[in-house]
Amino acid sequence: MPSSILKKAQMQMFETIGVLFVFFLLLAFGLIFYAGFQKDNVSNLQSDKTELELVSIAQTIEALTELKCSEQTSITENCYDLLSIEIFSRYMKNTSPGLFLHVGSPNTRIHYLSIFKNSNITVAVFNESSGNFTNYPIYYNDERDEKNKIGRRTNYVPITIKDSRNDEFYFGILYLTVFI
């Protein structure tokens, strides 16, 4: 009789432990599904963030007074000056530092690196006589490593370009690429 009572007590405890085990098992399944759902959420957020970064860079370029058309200090919106683009493009390539009075100095490049970060920016100007586009790289991040990037997002913005030398207007496209 004592041994059977002992066995019943042990069964009783095992039942409780069994219930708890199943409960924690269900909880673990729930957490795994939740983690999977959160992972999708995070990748969507990452994608949204990249899109916002594209918009942010487009807005930053819009605010760059060094490329905008101006007439007697009055800024013309949505218009870019061709001569400024050419000078800026050469400036960022740093081909002739002497000519540009150390314009391509390290501090200046760091200034634009902090603004444009992980992106490439090019302005393409349409030449009606030849029917071709001429590309002017505005910003190219030499230090980026493509191998570490998952992908890229590109945005195309049509712009008006004015040559301040002869007051002629051209059609242009602003290519913005952000690397993820």
């Binding site: 004592p2 009572i5 002992l6 007590a9 009783q12 405890m13 409780t16 708890l20 963030k49 916002l52 918009v55 942010s56 807005q59 930053t60 819009e62 605010a63 007074t65 060094e66 905008k68 101006s70 007439e71 007697q72 200090t73 800024i75 001569l83 400024s84 000078i87 800026f88 400036y91 000519l99 540009f100 009075l101 314009v103 200046t108 200034h111 902090s114 603004i115 301040s164 030398r165 002869n166 007051d167």
Partner: protein
Amino acid sequence: MKMYNKKGVVEAQFNWIFVLVVGGIILLFFVSLVNSQKKTSDLSINSELLTHLDSIIQGASISVGTVYDISMPLTQALSNDCEGQALTFSDSKLQGIDIGRTVLFGPKKMIGTKIFTYSLYWQEPYTITPFLYLTTDSVLFFVVNSTKLSQIFSEIPVNADYNAVDKDGNVKSVLKYGDDYVPDLASLTPYLNSDNDYYTHIKVISTEKLPSGLFHSSTKAKIILYQVPDLVSYDGYFTVNVTEYNRNGVIVRSTVNVDVLGFPSLMGLIFSDDVEDYRCSMTKALTKYQIISKLQLNKSNELKEYVNQNLDFYSPLCNHYYVSSLHEDIIYYINRSIGSDGVTDLTQLSNFQNLVETLRNYNNNLGDKSCPVPY
């Protein structure tokens, strides 16, 4: 039999202890889970708010002359750290918005139900960068005798129908003293003597000093007087005396004479939390000025070369107005101002006025003679 009873009692008690312990552990687990989810949710909301704020601020800096208002929760304070180059929520672990290249003037800590943004282009004489001004409804501006200071009075951002509301929902005052100007400093007394603690800053812009003993109040606001010179136009170089008072009208910080170049720069001083913040933002502006000046120098040289190649089309007098030495002088004085030791010397701004005026006149002359204009 007694032995069996004892064993049964032990088993029953042990069961209850076991249940309590396990129940407590489960409860603790769920409580910690809820807490961590709440913290994550708060961080996520702050992050989303900051992302939207970043877009709004980018847009606001481009929309020159337009006032935007952004609703903010009263429990959240926005910190503007010029030295740290970040705009973030106070007590937040988030990195914040990078404002390293944005020339922004605003209070160090912004608390209130609304944030107002406004921007103006800084042009000396060519457009350098937009100056972005931030303020909240907890900052009160008084422009004293605005008949003389009408340019300042009209440019301070305000929604004419807007009334500041404190945390109890009571309407206190307008952001700017209505559409009427304060006729003299004595009329300020009721406002400076008010007991409300809604305002963090009370900024008085006047051509005169504040008389001593003007006010005795319990306001916790920072009271700052900007004594501007009585000028016809604030577009050139001038100095402003900045004095900070406590609620009893006692000077807390002795008067500082601050150098200003142009009306946007004056607005920057008025919107900044203190003179050091203004100096920090002007350093960013001068760095941009340096870059733009170098580009303009090259542009001027290129245009001169282009005109020389097309002299059958342009007047030879055009060459007289493409003067690279003026740009080089501006670059020289900017370098002297920024310096290599990290301390900006704003007194160098006095050297720019003549150079800027000359460049402006030359540009106008180029336009008059149908020559290509650099800006």
